[in-house]
Amino acid sequence: MRGREAFVMALEALRVNRLRSALTMLGVIIGVLAVVILVSVGTGAKDAVEKQISGLGTNIILVVPGQLTVGAAPTQSRLSLADVAYVRRVVGDPAKVTVSLQSGETVRVGRTEAFVTVIGTDQNLTNVFQRPLAKGRHLSETDVDTRRRVAVLGSEVAARMFGDVDPVGRQVSIAGARFRVVGVYATVGQTFGLSRDQEVHVPVTTAQRMLGVDRVNGLAVGASGADEVEALQGRVVAALTERYPGEKFSAVTQTQLLGTIGSVLGMLTGVLAAIAGISLLVGGVGVSNIMLVSVRERTKEIGLRKALGARQRDVLAQFLIEAVLLTTIGGVLGIVLGVGGAVAIRSFTEVPASITWWSIALAFGVSAVVGVFFGVAPARRAGRLDPVVALRAE
């Protein structure tokens, strides 16, 4: 028997039992659909977070006192501006070190008020982070040195407080003190669920006086090249530990952050795919079940075919092709629906579903393998039927 004949026969058998074939396929369709959609959601989430992190800038090292662990309370900082100057000397390039002192404060313009994250920082911010301006200027060295009450607004804050009016040069009240707006940042979006467009940047010295502290929350160092990041990280931590014996400092690089978050989200994607895979497996069991029923129903036909000269492998091929057709047709339909579903999710919800070719190839491959795996037992049973017994079957 030629391959094409076996193929035609199998298609014909599926066509004859249309409803049953469709229902059996449904199991596979749902499985493949689930794999494609869940993997695309997982991958989309991972892509989005990675984009946020790399959107901060390149080769950044964040330095904070204490230990940087999720779930542990942050250590009260003892780092002062003197320590920042010390780190600047350690790093060698003072312009590549910037600071951060954060506090949630109320901002008011006329009757409009909003609660925002006020960040005290310095003129070096843009040497370390990517923070493009939409209007005006960045904070300057003079702003920091002379504790000027000037502010650069995140795009959302600017829009909310000033609407269509250009905020540059206007007054804004931060925690009761009057500041002059000198610039507005371009929209940058979220990082870890915090909108960076809702920040207000002021000189770190001004922030310290306003909050009545002489510490900073942490500092950030920009390495000049990717290969220097790790060495610099070690040097900064060692220098700080030397200055404050018995205290702990942590430095985390962007790559490490990406790695940690990437692996967490990768694992999440894997778990989602595995759950979807289980439903694909269940679909495969359905195929196996239906093929066994089909072999039993068609025992007589198998006996007849054998009497007419069908070899064991002819019968096996016929049933195996039937099973594989069931799963691969189901697989293709599942992929089409899954891709459609992912596109719909991306268009109509906030979930950043991202379709990956590997998940499509994997889903299709797995459905074909499922067909072979679950089809082989029924097909072998069919192939091995004794023609005499099969012909007598009722």
């Binding site: 007849l304 007419l308 069908a310 070899r311």
Partner: protein, 260 residues
């Protein structure tokens, strides 16, 4: 050959040829034992027979006599427990299942009591089915299937499905299917068993004609004496042995050891 028939006085097997070539079927001392739940049942207890090329023979016997078992063996659907069986000169005991399937496909045509046509498949495709397993292309299959259907007078029913045809027509489709591969032997198991008298007569007439015109050996299994009467030779089977063989002039005294 484990136990040669002592009464077989003919010189060694081959010379007993009818028109040309080896005998269509040659069986020596066939036995078939079934093991059913540990109980051994002997369905055939030593059957020897020889059916020449182009012969028309009927195997007759009551149900349970072993005639169906014999027919399955002659059709290479089953293997004997012991004994020698040659189909068209080919010894079957050494053949693999695959070779047996090929042997069935090339040399044997089956006609069953209940037709065994594929439902939802046209007469033409039903008839062409054996040629699918021979690996022939679609065009040639259809050509030969059309010719076979015409030879049983069903040239006008090629696109019909079994459910759209009468029993007699269905059995004629089955005969066309048995013939399409140009077999040496046509095995017909109660071919008229499911037909009324008129259709039965018609089917038997076709078998008569094909036997006469094409020289294909026909072996008929039946329990109806009037059907068996179509055959020039009757082989009576009872209790797994040949009780009477009217074709003893062939020289193979198969019945002798079958008697008590």
């Amino acid at each position: 050959m484990t136990s040669p028939d002592p009464s077989a006085t003919t010189p060694p097997a081959p010379p007993a040829r009818t028109p040309t070539g080896p005998p269509a079927i040659e069986a020596v001392d066939l036995t078939r034992r079934y093991d059913l739940d540990g109980v051994s049942v002997e369905a055939l207890r030593g059957v020897s027979l020889r059916i020449g090329q182009g012969e028309f023979a009927a195997i007759v016997g009551p149900s349970g006599s072993g005639k169906s078992t014999l027919m399955h063996l002659l059709g290479c659907l089953d293997r004997p427990t012991s004994g020698v069986l040659r189909i068209n000169g080919v010894e079957m005991s050494g053949l693999s299942d695959t070779r047996l399937a090929e042997l069935r496909n090339q040399t044997i045509g089956f006609v069953f009591q209940s037709f065994h046509l594929l439902a939802r498949t046209t007469a033409l495709d039903n008839v062409a089915l054996p040629l699918v397993y021979r690996g022939l292309g679609r065009t040639e299959r259809r050509e030969r299937a059309r010719a076979a259907l015409e030879s049983v007078g069903l040239g006008h029913r090629m696109g019909h499905r079994p459910s759209q045809m009468s029993g007699g027509e269905q059995q004629r489709v089955a005969i066309a299917r048995a013939l399409v591969g140009e077999p040496k032997v046509l095995l017909a198991d109660e071919p008229t068993g499911n037909l009324d008298t008129r259709n039965g007569t018609e089917v038997m007439a076709i078998l008569d004609r094909l036997n006469a015109e094409r020289g294909v050996a026909v072996v008929l299994v039946t329990h109806e004496p009037e059907v068996a009467a179509h055959a020039r030779r009757q082989i009576h089977v009872r209790d797994g042995r040949i009780e009477l063989d009217t074709g003893l002039d062939m020289g193979l005294d198969a019945g002798a050891e079958g008697r008590p």
